[in-house]
Symmetry: C2
Subunit: 336 residues, 2 copies
DNA sequence: GTTTATAATGTAAACGCATACACGAATTTC
DNA sequence: GAAATTCGTGTATGCGTTTACATTATAAAC
């Protein structure tokens, strides 16, 4: 059942059917109703594929993420989805498994699917993914980066104030009297990893507290690395009195390690995490964390992307930085 | 840059280019290489939209879910995604917000997008969604239901043994000596709600324990209803000694309520949840739950769907029932 | 009542691809 | 060496839309 069938049954031309469906151009009241009735009767639904081909736009955006399993993902997706529904866009998912090769393939695939725009939480911040994946596409595909900022590309990004958030958390611990503060941060060459580390360092220096290199550990943003590095930290001759976890997963690993080692929070060691997550408030003790507006990131990024797609926003490249918020709960104690 | 451009540059016809890309039909070694070089040079990527139109298949499946926010979702998605990658299918998301009207619209939209098949976690088990959403589509769209079974439709479903799982959990509590066992179950007219309730009732009766109607509460699968019903239960003149939570979200609500009321788990009340979730193992105490293989459900459902799409599976309608597993942790105590 | 503007509709081409069919060249068959 | 087969390639059509352009019917203007 296609447009031509409807046209035939209604005794009009396909052009008229099209005009009725899209409310474009003039069509007589009577004809309008007649066509609509036939459409309704037949349960006809226009073929989006054909329309996309003709219109050269698919009303679809690609959402590229590194790991479906990270609790971060559904949060962001929630924001993305709500805006997409509002503007009538569909979402095609692209999971990269934190792997650069896969990432390239995903970008290619999405481009091949003729998505109207791309929302990306990139793994490869070097830009190689993009250069290769986008090679040969004449029309500049609108892209908005989420949680990453990539220098040297004329694309928008929506990120959070990693430095500020880490500064805030560290300073909070310092205020409580801690000086032996450890950090398990993410990869230094990635936006969230490096930024949070810098915030930590700045806070320490601002208060004139010496940074002990043994207390500064680089993880890979996964639970396991948090677990192992925390065990390592607590086995030090002089263990830290507080640990700052660089993201949700690593913080969970830290929590688990402390529990397994029988280290009590916050009596023996204070814990602050980055990322609020469902878990944090339910743990015992409830975790103090740097909260970042994940759903908002998704929402704002999508708004931005769609406004680029629809050419409503012609301004220069935007870098939106969202603020974080320290949620004080019960995982830190005052030292005196 | 399209096929015609490549053909022109390579000095061949579009048919040859197509043959090279799809490795269909014969083409001379030399020509093959030449065309491939041009494609590479130009960064040409075939247009999937045009291909889809011509081939009448999109290599895309729609995944309809009721709530992105439910931890259940990413788990299932993980399984779905892995299979889709394997077979080269894309996923378009459809969030229904647990709303029947939205659900209808989503099905329509997905059909309009010409997805090759549908994976559905339905809200409306009456079938009205399908009847309306699919009206007028001549070619039978392959569909696999996840976590729901709908009578009267010739579609496959992949569900879990709700009755068995609930029986197991209830029986476990009975074995520990509990008799005042409450259940907060989901909507009775839904597969997981009704099934789990039945399993509970069967277990009680099997051991000859009277079912107290005050202890049987129907929630809506959301956190809040678990919270409120748990508060209600514990305010009863004779409160239960054990509560069985009908799904992950409601169990969390129950947990929260008990914490807020200062009721100690498992000393004062034992708690068993349905669904394992990241949280469960991290809570204090770690929760005993009925675990169900969510990722497997996604995987198996997708395998089934794709085999239907590609006509590899011509057998009658399948109803796959996956077993559950009781994960005993520390939220239940023996009564004596 | 003729001209002119406007509304209503139809005709046909194009979007980028796969493929049926056609055709000449090369190869095999006897 | 003629007939039959296979190989390599091109031409042209159609998938279901939208839309520029053409055409006819209707209303407005004088």
């Amino acid at each position: 059942m296609n447009q031509r069938d409807i046209a035939r049954i209604a005794g009009v031309s396909t052009a008229t059917v099209s005009r009725v469906i899209n409310k474009t151009g003039n069509v007589a009241q009577e004809t309008y109703k007649k066509v609509l009735r036939v459409i309704e009767d037949q349960g006809y639904v226009p073929d989006t594929i054909a329309k996309s081909l003709r219109m050269r736009q698919t009303k679809t955006i690609g959402f590229v993420i590194p790991d479906i399993g990270n609790p971060f993902f559904p949060e962001v997706l929630k924001g993305v989805e709500s805006v997409c529904v509002e503007y009538g866009y569909n979402i095609i998912l692209g999971n990269t498994n934190e792997d650069v090769r896969t990432e390239k393939a995903v970008v290619r695939n999405l481009r091949q699917q003729r998505v109207d725009g791309l929302l990306m939480i990139l793994v490869d911040e070097s830009g190689a993914t993009l250069r290769w994946g986008l090679k040969g596409s004449e029309s500049r595909l609108p892209i908005v980066f989420i949680d990453r900022h990539i220098e040297g590309f004329q694309y928008d990004s929506v990120i959070i104030d990693n430095e500020g958030g880490a500064f805030q958390a560290t300073d909070y611990l310092l205020q409580l009297g801690h000086t032996r503060i450890a950090i398990i941060h993410g990869p230094e060459n990635m936006t969230p990893g490096g930024g949070r580390l810098r915030g930590y360092l700045q806070a320490m220096r601002a208060r004139g507290v010496e940074v002990v290199s043994d207390y500064v550990k680089e993880g890979d943003f996964r639970t396991r690395s948090g677990y192992e590095l925390a065990r390592h930290l607590m086995s030090l001759p002089t263990p830290p009195t507080a640990i700052f976890g660089g993201n949700n997963l690593m913080t969970m690993g830290i929590f688990e390690a402390l529990r397994d080692m029988g280290v009590r929070i916050p009596d023996q060691v204070s814990l602050v995490g980055f990322d609020d997550f469902l878990l944090a408030a339910y743990l015992t003790p409830p975790l103090t964390v740097v909260d970042r507006p994940m759903s908002d990131m998704g929402r704002i990024a999508t708004e931005l992307l769609i406004s680029r797609i629809e050419n409503r926003d012609q301004t220069a490249v935007r870098k939106v930085v969202l603020p974080t918020k320290l949620r004080v709960r019960q995982s830190c104690r005052e030292l005196r």
